[in-house]
């Protein structure tokens, strides 16, 4: 059985709350069946609004959303059969864990025996068996989170939406929950639409990530592509760390371009520049620039070390390079510790393929 590549489809969706500003602009997004897709973006970028439109709590101002090829704009939330995990869990405080999980089953008129079985299964899935009679207030944040996940899955929905579900947890718990949710997804194969503003969360969990900004999807691709090959400077900046140079194209040939900076010139990979004279922002990942490279690299420049920060597994070095005093390098601490001292001049090299000339900021 081939998976439906357009299981959820946003078709030219616009959304405005006040009739003056578009929160979501001309959104087109296809989500495949069984996929874990993350909507990532800064707050106010329209990602939660998209989720709410899919859940049915907001209506698109224009356009249509399809679920398994059926338009759903006129279907009320309770008939969509979409599970949802809320930011603050939204567990019903007056019901026990069992009653919380049984609620979606009871309203579907499922028999008592089947409810017991399904609740049991869902609770063991999130390793909370034996917590049936606890009240939500008696659970820790992480446990409440698991109950919320179990409740969203217990009635076997085809799509589960998660709205920043891990936002309220501390760092360690958040990381372990990320893996847990990922594993649950892998085991039951449900389609998950996940909203977060935490890029590491998005990179860890997703099959594909849709980066939102300003009401638009800036880039939709797998985590590695998103990181290695950002298509514009917003994505380059938002995902991971990023060194940038602003400049002007002075030569464009054979898949490389020459960029004139305020101090010097570099070679780069033209991504969104078309012709000579274009302004551009060149983006280089910190780990792509090497100190005293052994192999020949087509960019080689000297810089002055301005700051050295020890990070345990690696050392971050801030350089002044070609007029950019915010140039960051990550040096693994296992490597021969070269000559990293404050004020030293060192030689930095990178391949022009890794320096992506994007749209100007």
């Amino acid at each position: 059985m081939s998976k439906n590549q357009e299981f959820v489809k946003f078709d030219k969706v616009d959304k405005s709350y006040d009739g003056k500003v578009l929160v979501v602009k001309d959104l087109n997004l296809d989500i495949a069946e069984g996929e874990f897709i993350t909507m990532l973006g800064p707050s106010g970028s329209g990602k939660t609004t998209c989720l709410m439109m899919l859940a049915g709590f907001e209506t698109p101002t224009n356009g249509e959303i399809y679920l398994d090829a059926n338009p759903i704009s006129n279907i009320p939330p309770h008939k969509r059969g979409i599970g949802m995990v809320f930011q603050n869990y939204a567990l019903f405080p007056h019901m026990t864990v069992y009653e919380n999980l049984a609620f979606p089953l009871k309203v579907r008129k499922i028999s008592k025996d089947d409810i017991d079985k399904k609740v049991d299964k869902a609770l063991s899935m999130v390793s909370l068996s034996g917590f049936e009679n606890r009240m939500p207030a008696q659970l820790s944040g992480g446990q409440q989170q698991r109950v919320a996940v179990a409740r969203a899955l217990v009635f076997d929905p085809t799509v589960v939406l998660m709205d920043e579900p891990l936002g309220a947890l501390d760092k360690n718990l958040r990381e372990s929950m990320q893996y847990e949710i990922k594993h649950i997804h892998e085991n039951i194969g449900v389609t998950v639409v996940y909203v977060t503003h935490d890029q590491s969360e998005a990179l860890t969990m997703s099959n594909r990530i849709a980066v939102f900004n300003d009401g638009k999807v800036q880039q939709l691709s797998s985590p590695d592509k998103l990181y290695e090959e950002p298509v514009n400077s917003f994505v380059a900046e938002f995902i991971g760390e990023n060194n940038t140079f602003g400049g002007e194209i002075i030569d464009l040939s054979n898949g490389t371009c020459k960029v004139k900076l305020s101090h010097g010139e570099i070679f780069a990979n033209p991504i969104s520049v078309k012709s000579k004279g274009d302004r551009t922002t060149v983006s280089i990942r910190p780990e792509r620039a090497l100190i005293n490279p052994e192999n020949k690299m087509d960019n080689n420049h000297a810089g002055t070390i301005e700051e050295v920060i020890y990070h345990g597994d690696h050392t971050r070095v801030r350089l002044n390079l070609l007029g950019n005093s915010e140039f960051i390098l990550k040096v693994p601490n296992s490597s021969k510790n070269l000559d990293i001292k404050l004020g030293n001049k060192i030689n930095i090299g990178w391949n022009s393929q890794d320096a992506r000339a994007l749209d100007p900021k």
Binding site: P76, M84, F86, N88, F92, F103, A152
Partner: protein
């Protein structure tokens, strides 16, 4: 390990609990001194008056003090046959003192309440005593029995004996339309004279329905207040509170203007053709007026606790309910409504207790069929001056409120009340 628990000492060797007490003593005294004024205020303005009311309601010492010798003599009397000579002698010497002090009128009044017919025979006896017609040398029993035939009736002497105890619960019985019969049994007042029972029932009925109406009207308002955007909810809140800040009397008076037969509401009904001009319904001086005015006046007491509870219910709970497949009604009934119960409890309790003792509004718009027990209490305070009866009914009302509170505590739990 030794089984006895070791006493923990501080570094200077004093037991820890002693040190702790010493360290906390100053704060405790300070805290107590801070609440002393309030405590005194409460005792003086609340506890003492209620105590005084209670004493007043059961007090029956007047006759006891007026006829000390009579009651001493009566202790040996079986209360069935005519009393012996000593009782008459004691009564005569008590009565002589009353005549000297001109207090026989009070006695006549009090005994007449116990049994009709005392007024005239005491007046008759008074005239005999004033004219020194009673010869103390002869049998006083014979002479008094000659004054009037009722003095020969044993029932009148039984009535006197019943007034002997210094305390009585007669006022409470009267509040429930009952009284002590001649042989001390509790009797029912004739059916056509049972006015207090009607008033109690009506008070409960009106309090119940006012609570119900306030709830039905207040719940949606409170919900709107809690969910509307700040800009509108503030305006609505002012609309709810504005009547709250207006004088009670003014509000009641404005209802009188609205509801009277030639009033604005009736004019409007006639205008839209709902009623004929010569057949305007009476909406005032009856229960309708009391319901309308009291509901409006007590509505904020329902809305505010409800609002404060609803404000704390996250909107995502309703959303969660819907996304899990509950229809809007199921989501409301199974999720939202149970969470508002503390507010409902607080609002209903507040409105019911206020309504059960409401006075001004029923007095002004209630008319004959819309007055409540509180109006009856006021009537006895101000018009008949029967303060002990007013006190007894006041205490019965207070007891009723406490019972409501107790039942509520059993059903919902006072811990669950949320006033704000």
């Amino acid at each position: 390990m030794s089984s006895e628990t070791q006493q923990i000492l501080t570094t200077d060797g004093i037991p820890l609990s002693v040190s702790l007490k010493k360290a906390e003593r100053k704060n405790k005294i300070k805290a107590f001194l801070l609440v002393v004024p309030l405590l005194l205020f409460l005792i003086i303005t609340y506890i003492l008056p209620i105590g005084d009311m209670f004493m007043r309601s059961i007090d029956d010492k007047m006759v006891t003090n007026m006829l000390p010798k009579t009651f001493t003599a009566m202790e040996k009397w079986d209360g069935k046959e005519m009393p012996p000579e000593e009782v008459f002698a004691g009564f005569y010497s008590d009565f002589k003192i009353l005549v000297q002090n001109k207090e026989h009128g009070k006695l006549a009044q009090r005994l007449n309440k116990e049994k009709n017919g005392f007024n005239s025979i005491i007046k008759k006896l008074f005239r005999q005593v004033q004219r020194n017609k009673i010869d103390e040398g002869r049998s006083i029993k014979e002479q008094i029995m000659k004054v009037h035939k009722r003095w020969r009736d044993v029932e009148y002497w039984q009535a006197i004996k019943r007034t002997a105890p210094p305390y009585t619960t007669a006022k409470y019985l009267k509040g429930m339309d009952m009284y002590y019969g001649p042989d001390g049994n509790i009797m029912q007042v004739d059916e056509d004279r049972r006015i207090h029972r009607i008033l109690w029932l009506r008070t409960l009925e009106i309090a119940f329905f006012v609570t119900l109406f306030s709830f039905l009207m207040g719940y949606p308002i409170a919900h709107l207040l809690a969910t509307l955007p700040m800009k509108y909810s503030n305006l609505l809140m002012i609309c709810v509170l504005l009547p709250f800040w207006t004088s009670l009397l003014v509000r009641t008076a404005s209802w009188m203007i609205l509801l009277q037969q030639q009033g604005i509401v009736n004019d409007f009904f006639v205008m839209i053709g709902l009623v004929a001009d010569d057949n305007r319904p009476e909406m005032m001086y009856n229960k309708v007026g009391t319901y309308v005015a009291m509901t409006q006046i007590l509505l904020p007491f329902m809305v505010l606790p409800l609002y404060s509870v609803m404000k704390t219910i996250s909107p995502s709970l309703m959303r969660a309910g819907k996304s899990l497949g509950g229809t809007p009604f199921v989501a409301f009934w199974k999720i939202y409504f149970p969470l508002t119960i503390p507010g409902i409890g607080a609002g209903c309790l507040l409105v019911f207790i206020l309504a059960i003792g409401y006075y001004i509004t029923p007095a002004l718009v209630g008319g004959a069929s819309g007055t409540l027990i509180s109006n009856q209490i006021a009537y006895h305070m101000k018009t008949t001056l029967d303060w002990s009866f007013a006190s007894a009914m006041g205490l019965m009302l207070l007891t009723g409120v406490l019972v409501v509170y107790w039942v509520y505590n059993k059903l919902v739990g006072v811990d669950n009340i949320k006033l704000g």
